[in-house]
Amino acid sequence: MAVTQEAVLDKIKEIVPKFGVDPTDVTLEATLEDLDMDSLDVVEIMQAIEDDLGVRVPDEDLEGLATMGDTIAAVVKNG
C-alpha cells in the first residue's frame, strides 16, 4: 500500500521533537530554514521513514528540497 501525505507528515511530526522542533511548526509550507533544520536532519528523517514506513528515497530525490511539502512529496513518490 502506498504511503499517504498524511502518514508521512504524521511520522515527521512524531520525529521532530528530538531535533528540538515543535511538531505544530511542521506544515507543508514550512522550509527547513524556518524549522532551523539542515541536510543532516533530512538524512535522519529519511532514515526513520525508511525504518518505520519502509520507503527508501534515493539520494537524487533529496536534492534541492526546500519545504516540508517537497520532502513529503519525495517520500510519497517513492512509496
Binding site: K18, F19, G20, D36, Q47
Partner: protein, 392 residues
C-alpha cells in the same frame, strides 16, 4: 638573542567535573577534601541541563562538557567576541579519546538495524575535534584551531600549544582546554582489562593501597591571551602561563619509564622556559593517578629535580582521573591555588607508601603563599607535558 616571545596570561576559567558544574563547585570540593563515593567511575553532572536540545543532539557528551565549560570561561573572562578581531581568536580543545558514547551506541544501531540506519551524525560527533568545532562555531572564532590528542597529557599539551600560538603571534586569544567522557561499557571494560582502574573502588594516590585510577569525566577550559591583549581590553589576569615543557618516554606503550627520564625532562623544560629555579616553586599539582607505577616514578622524578621538594597534591584523589580533561581541570585548580593562596589536599592517603615520601598535603587544605606552580601530566603512549604558572 633576547627572548621576544609574548607573555601569555589566563583571564578566564571554566570546568565541569564530578564535583558538579562550574569552578566554584570544583574548588569547594577540592578545599573540603571530600572523597569520591566508593567505585571505579566518577561521573560528571548531565551537561544537557545546560544546553538546548538542538545543541545537545549534535554533540557527544565529551563535547557537551567542553561547550558548557567554555561558556563559563568566556563569561568569567568578560569576553565580548563581537568587539574583538575574530581572526585573531583561536581555540585548542583536545580529548583523550573523543566520542566514545557515539561509537558505542551507533555500533549497536548498525548491528541491530543495518548500515542504512547508521546516523549521519556519527562521524561529526565521534571525531576528537568535535568539541573544538562546537566551541569555535559557538563563539565565531576564526583564528587557528587545533585538537590535541595525547591521552592523559592532553590537557597540558592543549594549554601548552595554545601558549605557543599566542607567544609567537599567531593569535591574540585562545580558548584552550580539553574534555573527556569515556564512561561507556567498552571503555570501562578495556581499562579494567589492562589493570589501569582500581579494583578497590578508591582513588588513593601515593598510598600503599593504590591499585589504579577511578575514571572521571568532564572538561576544563581556560582563556589564554597575550598580556597586551588582556590589558588593552581591561581584563583581569589571574596568572601567567610561564612555562611549557613536553617530552616522550619512548619506552613502553602504557607503562611510565621507571627512571622517569622523560617526565623529568618535561618538568625541567617547563621550569627553564619560565625562568624559574626549582627552589622557587611553591606548590606542585601532581599527575598523581593512584596507579602503582605513576605515583612512584613521579615521586622519584620530583625528588631528583627538587633539593627540598615543595608541597604536592593530587587532584585525581578528589575527582578521579579525568584522562584527557585532567590537565585542563588541574590548570583551573592551579589558578585558584594562586588566587587564594591555598593548596587542596590529597585525600585517602592514610597508609603511606614508604617509597612515596613527599609532602602530599594529606592533612587537609593548607594555606601557603603560592606564586609559582608546576603542574604535571603524563599520558599513555609515554607523552609528558608540564606547565608552570605564575601569579600576576
Amino acid at each position: 638573542m633576547t627572548d621576544q616571545r609574548r607573555e601569555v596570561v589566563i583571564t578566564g576559567i571554566g570546568a565541569v567535573t564530578p564535583a558538579g558544574f562550574g569552578v566554584d563547585a570544583l574548588w569547594a570540593r577540592a578545599l573540603a577534601g571530600e572523597s569520591l563515593p566508593h567505585g571505579d567511575v566518577a561521573v560528571g553532572p548531565d551537561p544537557t541541563e545546560k544546553l538546548t536540545i538542538k545543541e545537545s543532539r549534535r554533540l557527544d557528551r565529551f563535547a557537551r562538557y567542553a561547550l558548557v565549560a567554555a561558556r563559563e570561561a568566556v563569561e568569567d573572562a568578560g569576553l565580548d567576541f563581537a568587539a574583538l578581531d575574530s581572526t585573531r581568536c583561536g581555540a585548542v580543545v583536545g580529548t583523550g579519546i573523543g566520542g566514545f558514547e557515539t561509537i558505542d551506541t551507533n555500533i549497536e544501531i548498525m548491528r541491530e538495524k543495518g548500515d542504512r540506519q547508521v546516523p549521519a551524525t556519527t562521524v561529526p560527533m565521534l571525531m576528537p575535534n568535535a568539541a573544538l568545532a562546537a566551541i569555535t562555531k559557538d563563539f565565531g572564532l576564526h583564528g587557528p584551531g587545533h585538537c590535541v590528542v595525547t591521552a592523559c597529557a592532553t590537557g597540558n599539551h592543549s594549554l601548552g600549544e595554545a601558549k605557543r600560538m599566542i607567544e609567537y603571534g599567531f593569535a591574540d586569544l585562545v580558548v584552550a582546554g580539553s574534555a573527556e567522557a569515556a564512561n561507556r561499557p567498552l571503555a570501562t571494560a578495556a581499562f579494567r582489562a589492562m589493570g589501569a582502574m582500581t579494583s578497590k573502588g578508591m582513588s588513593c594516590p601515593f598510598d600503599s593501597r593504590r591499585d589504579g585510577f577511578v575514571m572521571g569525566e568532564g572538561a576544563g577550559i581556560v582563556i589564554l591571551e597575550s598580556a597586551e591583549h588582556a590589558a588593552a581590553r581591561g581584563a583581569r589576569a589571574y596568572a601567567t602561563l610561564a612555562g611549557y615543557g613536553a617530552s616522550n618516554d619512548a619506552f613502553h606503550l602504557v607503562q611510565p619509564d621507571p627512571e622517569a627520564t622523560g617526565a623529568m625532562a618535561a618538568m625541567r623544560k617547563a621550569l627553564a622556559e619560565a625562568g624559574v629555579a626549582p627552589g622557587e616553586v611553591d606548590y606542585i599539582n601532581a599527575h598523581g593517578t593512584s596507579t602503582p607505577y605513576n605515583d612512584l616514578s613521579e615521586t622519584k622524578a620530583v625528588k631528583e629535580i627538587f633539593d627540598s621538594p615543595p608541597p604536592i597534591s593530587s587532584t585525581k584523589s578528589l575527582l578521579g582521573h579525568m584522562m584527557g580533561a585532567a590537565g585542563s581541570v588541574e590548570a583551573v585548580i592551579c589558578v585558584l591555588s594562586m588566587r587564594d593562596n591555598k593548596a587542596h589536599p590529597t585525600v585517602n592517603l592514610d597508609e603511606p607508601d614508604p617509597e612515596c615520601d613527599l609532602d602530599y598535603i594529606a592533612d587537609g587544605a593548607r594555606e601557603i603563599e603560592i606564586n609559582t606552580v608546576l603542574s604535571n601530566s603524563f599520558g599513555f603512549g609515554g607523552h609528558n607535558a608540564c606547565l608552570v604558572f605564575q601569579a600576576k
